[in-house]
């Protein structure tokens, strides 16, 4: 299966053509073809996964320079037994055989680094070298360079295959109910297929050029799907905006890839580029330029601050598409690229040795700003969109601090719970056709219990409530920020990431309040609300189950009493199978640094996150405004550590000065308590809102959009001036011609 992965993108591509061709004539408008093809590739992806697991457990023998055979050790503790016979070692020969039949080459990029260093036994986990399965054919050969296209299967691409096909399958099923009766039903499914195909094509890329093509295809399909209901102008505007903002990043992509192409001695081969970057054979400056250029691309595609503006607007598309875009496809393309070319970024940005770098900063800023922005949205999809921005920030930050596995692990868990949330939002809005939480929702928990509970689980995972999925991945990211990098780790990232947790808790709690609690308002009050059918709820439940369980795939391995009872065979499965080994990954055979589980950090970050929840809970459930000071005093007393400290100070004041002037100072202290501390609490509450609004109104909508608009206007304006020069009088044109020739000649005669 591993070397036949090329079938996986091909099938949905064929399905796309088939749906367009015959979809309208079929009883279900072509959706059956889409679902069938995605189901098939989902099964195939599981096969790839099984094959990969088998391959990791029984890695093929790698000959090192020294000629010694690497001893193959079967890992007996594998979570899943190697089920697929293709994945095992003998399969390599099978594949080789098949390949010769196709007259192309299968090479197991047997990464043989010069050093025959023994696998370092860091953290007790041995890293066997499991080379990726690469299979490619020559795409074109234009003399100076040979460009190949093909598939490269390793843990990372296997993970992406499974995630993409799973989410895509569920989205397909969900959509059959959700867009039922749409007049472009068939087109919709056709483009879903193509979207899936493009993303799969992208993730199995073996060359950077193929990645560019896949990247563009993904953008193209998202353009088509975001603009699905193009009759309304905002929708088509959103589609265009998404496309244009992404094109800005594409320049970066193109520049970066070209720089890498030349830096790596004219090759597009991903493995080769990574190996050269890791081996230090590429000038650091080139790597830096390359990774900065690529970073621009990531910022646009993965919605990083300041190029994130298209992402919330892209909510104009149908909700299942949003789920697909946000969970598995479009936006994670950027994350995936960083992960894929990690050798370049790791060395280019000196991730392993610095305390701050561009990628980490971008991620950290994004996660905080994104969260703040989510706080002030009234449209539930926009809350989720900004939440995605924020979570992508976490991933980028994770990669930026060197916690590769944590970032990808978060990608995986996030895909599950964010898809759950988006589809949940779709389920909520299915009847009322509105996403406005304030106006049209409220009190829905009783009428839509399944949606409610799945949504709650998704929220729990997002807010990182232990032991749901998000807890594990977020904790690992923060541990990475604390422990990796140069001396002292990435303190700033740690602080911002922890703050981000609080913000996350707050905005999700607020959303839950508006949607599920209180009185039914607006459209939901006038509509006959009821739970949706199984085609909508079953995907929700599957995803909710994923949101609960996904975290257990990477339970930290630690001596800490909290988790030390977990058997070894259950810990760090994700890292074991997904993290690449070999010279194409930083660290190579030497262990790549991993953060350790830190109970204090876990508790603190969870506490901070829950504080956010609590604050918001008190804010919304208990209400504000008309309540008296004491109410807010109690509110303060209840939650905040910072308040306790204040009280401590108070006590200190009182104790110290007790003997002298008890009365006035006690009164002052009381006054302080009543006014200053309340004021601080109020201030915190309002300033969060204010800063969120400020950022939204002025930076997000004002500066960024303004800059986009202004540059558009400037282009238009200069176009207008230039247009005036086109007078229509031929002799004026003649004058331009002669004058142009004369002046250019004069300049060059003088200057050259």
């Amino acid at each position: 299966m591993l070397s036949h992965a090329w079938l996986i993108p091909l099938i949905p591509a064929i399905s796309f053509v088939a749906i367009l061709a015959v979809g309208k004539k079929l009883p279900r408008g072509g959706s059956e073809i889409g679902i069938a093809s995605v189901a098939i590739i989902f099964v195939m992806s599981l096969g790839v996964a099984a094959g990969w697991i088998g391959r990791v457990n029984n890695p093929p023998v790698v000959h090192h320079d020294t000629g010694t055979e690497h001893v193959v050790e079967g890992d007996e503790h594998g979570e899943e037994a190697p089920a697929d016979e293709h994945g095992e070692e003998p399969a390599a020969e099978d594949e080789g055989h098949a390949a010769t039949a196709f007259e192309d080459s299968v090479s197991f990029a047997a990464a043989a680094p010069g050093s025959a260093s023994a696998p370092a036994a860091a953290e007790g986990e041995e890293h066997h070298e499991t080379p990726p399965v690469v299979r490619d054919i020559t795409w074109f050969d234009n003399g100076t360079m040979q460009v190949k296209v093909g598939t490269m299967i390793d843990g990372l691409s296997t993970l992406m295959l499974v995630v993409v096909t799973l989410i895509s399958l569920l989205v397909h099923v969900f959509s059959t109910d959700y867009v039922a009766g749409d007049r472009r039903y068939t087109h919709y499914f056709a483009f879903l297929s193509l979207f899936t195909a493009s993303m799969l094509f992208y993730v199995v890329s073996s060359s950077t050029l193929q990645m560019i093509v896949g990247w563009e295809l993904v953008g193209l399909c998202s353009f088509a799907l975001i603009g699905h209901w193009w009759e309304e102008k905002p929708n088509s505007d959103a589609a265009l905006k998404a496309f244009l903002v992404n094109r800005v990043g594409d320049i970066g992509l193109l520049c970066g890839m070209i720089v890498l192409f030349f830096a790596a001695g004219r090759t597009f081969d991903i493995i080769q580029i990574n190996e050269l970057a890791n081996a230090g054979e590429i000038r650091h400056f080139l790597l830096l330029v390359g990774s900065l250029s690529l970073m621009t691309a990531v910022m646009s595609k993965s919605g990083q601050f300041i190029l994130h503006t298209w992402l919330p607007d892209a909510m104009a598309g149908p909700t299942p598409v949003s789920a697909l875009i946000h969970a598995a496809t479009m936006v994670v393309a950027g994350i995936y690229m960083i992960a894929r070319l990690y050798g370049v970024f790791f060395n280019g940005l000196s991730i392993g040795t610095s305390n701050i770098n561009v990628m980490a900063v971008v991620g950290a800023v994004t996660l905080l700003f994104g969260g703040l922005l989510a706080f002030v949205q009234n449209d539930i999809k926009k809350v989720l969109a900004y939440s995605t921005v924020s979570q992508l920030g976490y991933m980028v930050m994770a990669l930026g601090v060197g916690a590769w596995t944590a970032g990808i692990f978060h990608l995986f868990t996030h895909a599950l719970f964010k898809a759950c949330l988006f589809l949940g939002a779709g389920s909520l809005a299915h009847h009322i056709h509105s996403f406005d939480m304030k106006e049209d929702m409220g009190g829905l928990r009783k009428v839509m219990p399944k949606t409610f509970w799945t949504f709650m689980l998704g929220t729990g995972a997002l807010v990182a409530v232990p032991p749901l999925a998000g807890f594990w991945s977020k904790d690992e990211i923060l541990a990475g920020a604390q422990q990796l990098g140069g001396d002292g780790g990435y303190p700033l990232m740690l602080i911002m990431g922890t703050l981000g947790a609080a913000v996350t808790g707050a905005y999700m709690t607020r959303a839950i309040w508006y949607v599920f609690f209180g009185e039914r308002r607006g459209a939901s009050a006038t509509h006959d609300m009821h739970e949706n059918g199984p085609r909508i709820t079953v995907p929700l439940m599957i995803l909710a189950a994923g949101a609960v369980l996904a975290g257990f795939t990477n339970i930290p391995k630690t001596d800490n009493f909290a988790l030390s009872w977990v058997p070894d065979g259950w810990t760090l499965r994700f890292e074991h199978f997904i993290e690449p080994t070999g010279a194409y990954f930083p660290g190579g055979l030497e262990s790549f640094a991993h953060p350790e589980f830190n109970l204090v950090l876990a508790v603190v970050s969870t506490a901070v996150g829950l504080t956010g929840v609590l604050l918001a809970y008190l804010w919304y459930w208990k209400g504000l405004g008309p309540h008296g000071l004491t109410d807010r005093n109690r509110f303060a007393r209840g939650g905040y550590k910072i308040l306790e400290n204040k009280y401590g100070l108070d006590v200190l004041y009182v104790d110290w000065i007790a003997g002298a002037t008890k009365g006035p100072i006690a009164k002052a202290a009381n006054w302080t308590n009543q006014n200053v501390i309340d004021g601080v609490v109020n201030l915190v509450g309002t300033s969060v809102r204010k800063s969120g609004e400020f950022v939204y109104r002025y930076i997000d909508q004002g500066v960024v959009d303004g800059a986009v608009n202004a540059s558009g206007a400037a282009a238009d304006g200069s176009g207008e001036i230039l247009r005036k020069a086109q007078t229509g009088k031929v002799q004026t044109y003649g004058a331009y011609l002669f004058l142009g020739a004369a002046i250019l000649a004069a300049i060059f005669v003088i200057a050259v």
Partner: protein
């Protein structure tokens, strides 16, 4: 009889003629004669046969082209080196023949139904293609000049073919006058080059330009003035003003022809002159082309953003595209020898791609305007609802022009980028950045058209399907298939472009 006269002429050396090498031109010339006779000896109602003969003749000329391509041995060099049949010329001749054939396809209904002189139309088209084929083999200033006039003068008249309409004749007049002005400047430049080098052969000129004469200011003026004539043809700023007006006023098939074949011919001449003649002063050509390329891209794109007429928009788009093609010349002579090869092959590649794509786009424009009768972009609203095939084809072409995969344009742009980056010069990087920025700007109007086609309402609510005649279907079909196939398998054209090298080695 001639032979006896030749024999009697004292001291006259009868030139050795390789008829095989001349065969493609001769086939086109024979077709020209056939069409002329058809036009003279047939009745008005059967003049349409002219188009069939023209099409067959153009396809027929590909046969000797192929036999030449597979012929062994050195490239043929005739008439003392003034006429060379090498791989470069063969590739471009094929390009011109195919472009000519597609032009015939898109013309046939338009010209037959309109109030045009039909036979003469194809006659002039063939004459112009004959000139283009000659110029791609010409390695001598005189031959280049005469071939250039051969391809230009018929197009001046074709541009004025709607002679009863004021805009029609205005289009021809503007094209003609600017063309003649540019010819004047070009000839003046050529005379200086000839004066300084004492030869009209590009190889000898190249040697002198690389020597002492090249260092004098007068050589610089000669080089620049000579290039101006061709830069007008490719509509580079500031010699571009004729293009929008002419494109708008000329019959649309002629516009298609002008925007691709005629422009390619200009580039062919520029490539020959720059690579074979002026390579010794690449340090002058580089900044000159840099300035022009950046100005051309930027001005073309900026004004295109403001256009409401589709043909006019395409006119500015083709101005901008010319700028893209000029970009690699801003690094000519820098870097290693294979940089020069890369520049040449990337430009040839872009020409091939651009020709196919733009012709396709014009075929769609012609098909649609048969129905809407208007050139306004707004009239394209909702095209997708009643002519989905045309709309999707147009989308493919627009993607190709904008450089978005999987349509072929991305690969061509990528090649240009590679060429400038490979040279590793400041000017090259600057040109690359300008190109990148401009390709984003250009998406503004390309996507604008797409948006109109797919997202707007049909202006008059009339959604009866468009009836597209078979010739146009063929034209759209050929181009759209080529655009996609080459987009997925760029190696097909990449090989062709790589082989399109000059027989003479560079920079001598």
């Amino acid at each position: 009889m001639l032979a006896t006269i030749f024999a009697a002429a004292e001291g006259f050396v009868r030139p050795d003629i390789d008829w095989h090498a001349l065969a493609p031109e001769l086939v086109v010339l024979a077709t020209f004669v056939v069409v002329l006779l058809v036009d003279v000896f047939t009745e008005e109602h059967s003049r349409w046969t002219a188009s069939s003969f023209a099409g067959i003749g153009l396809l027929g000329a590909i046969v000797p082209l192929l036999t030449l391509a597979v012929r062994d041995g050195d490239p043929a060099s005739l008439f003392g080196g003034g006429f060379v049949v090498d791989d470069f010329s063969l590739v471009l001749k094929a390009l011109f023949l195919v472009a000519g054939y597609v032009t015939v396809l898109v013309s046939s209904n338009q010209i037959a139904e309109g109030d045009y002189h039909e036979g003469e139309y194809y006659l002039l088209l063939l004459a112009s293609i004959f000139g283009m084929m000659t110029i791609s083999s010409a390695r001598d200033l005189i031959t280049i000049f005469v071939a250039f006039e051969m391809l230009s003068i018929p197009t001046y008249m074709l541009a004025a073919w709607r002679k009863r309409a004021q805009t029609g004749i205005e289009a021809g007049m503007k094209y003609y006058l600017i063309g003649v002005f540019a010819t004047g400047v070009m000839l003046y430049g050529m005379s200086l080059i000839y004066g300084g080098t004492g030869s009209t052969l590009l190889s000898e000129i190249g040697a002198h330009i690389g020597g002492d004469f090249g260092q004098e200011p007068v050589a610089v003026v000669g080089i620049l003035f000579t290039l101006v004539g061709f830069l007008f043809k490719v509509s580079a700023v500031p010699f571009h003003n004729w293009a929008p007006d002419t494109y708008e006023g000329a019959p649309t098939p002629v516009t298609a022809f002008l925007s691709v074949a005629s422009k390619s011919a200009g580039f062919v001449a520029i490539l020959q002159l720059v690579f074979l003649g002026f390579f010794g002063r690449a340090d002058v050509v580089r900044p000159f082309m840099f300035v022009l390329a950046v100005a051309t891209m930027t001005v073309g794109n900026m004004i295109a953003l403001r256009q409401t007429n589709i043909v006019r928009m395409f006119a500015y788009s083709s101005v901008a595209q010319a700028g893209f093609i000029l970009v690699p010349l801003s690094v000519i002579g820098a870097g290693s020898a294979d940089t020069a090869d890369q520049i040449l092959s990337s430009m040839v590649m872009y020409l091939l791609v651009y020709t196919v794509v733009n012709l396709g786009a014009f075929a769609v424009i012609i098909s649609v305007s048969r129905r809407t009768g208007s050139g306004e972009i707004a009239s394209w609203g909702g095209l997708f609802t009643y002519a989905p095939a045309l709309a999707v084809s147009m989308a493919v072409f627009l993607f190709a022009l904008g450089g978005i995969p999987p349509a072929v344009g991305w690969f061509a742009k990528f090649q240009l980028f590679t060429a400038v980056v490979k040279a590793d010069t400041t000017l090259g990087y600057a040109a690359g950045v300008a190109m990148a920025v401009n390709s984003v700007i250009s998406l503004g109007y390309y996507l604008g058209v797409m948006r109109t086609m797919f997202m707007d309402d049909v202006p008059d609510g009339d959604t009866t399907p468009v009836r597209v005649p078979p010739a146009l279907v063929a034209a759209v079909g050929i181009t759209v298939v080529a655009t996609l196939v080459v987009g997925f398998l760029p190696g097909l054209v990449g090989d062709l472009a790589d082989h399109a090298t000059f027989a003479l080695s560079l920079g001598e």
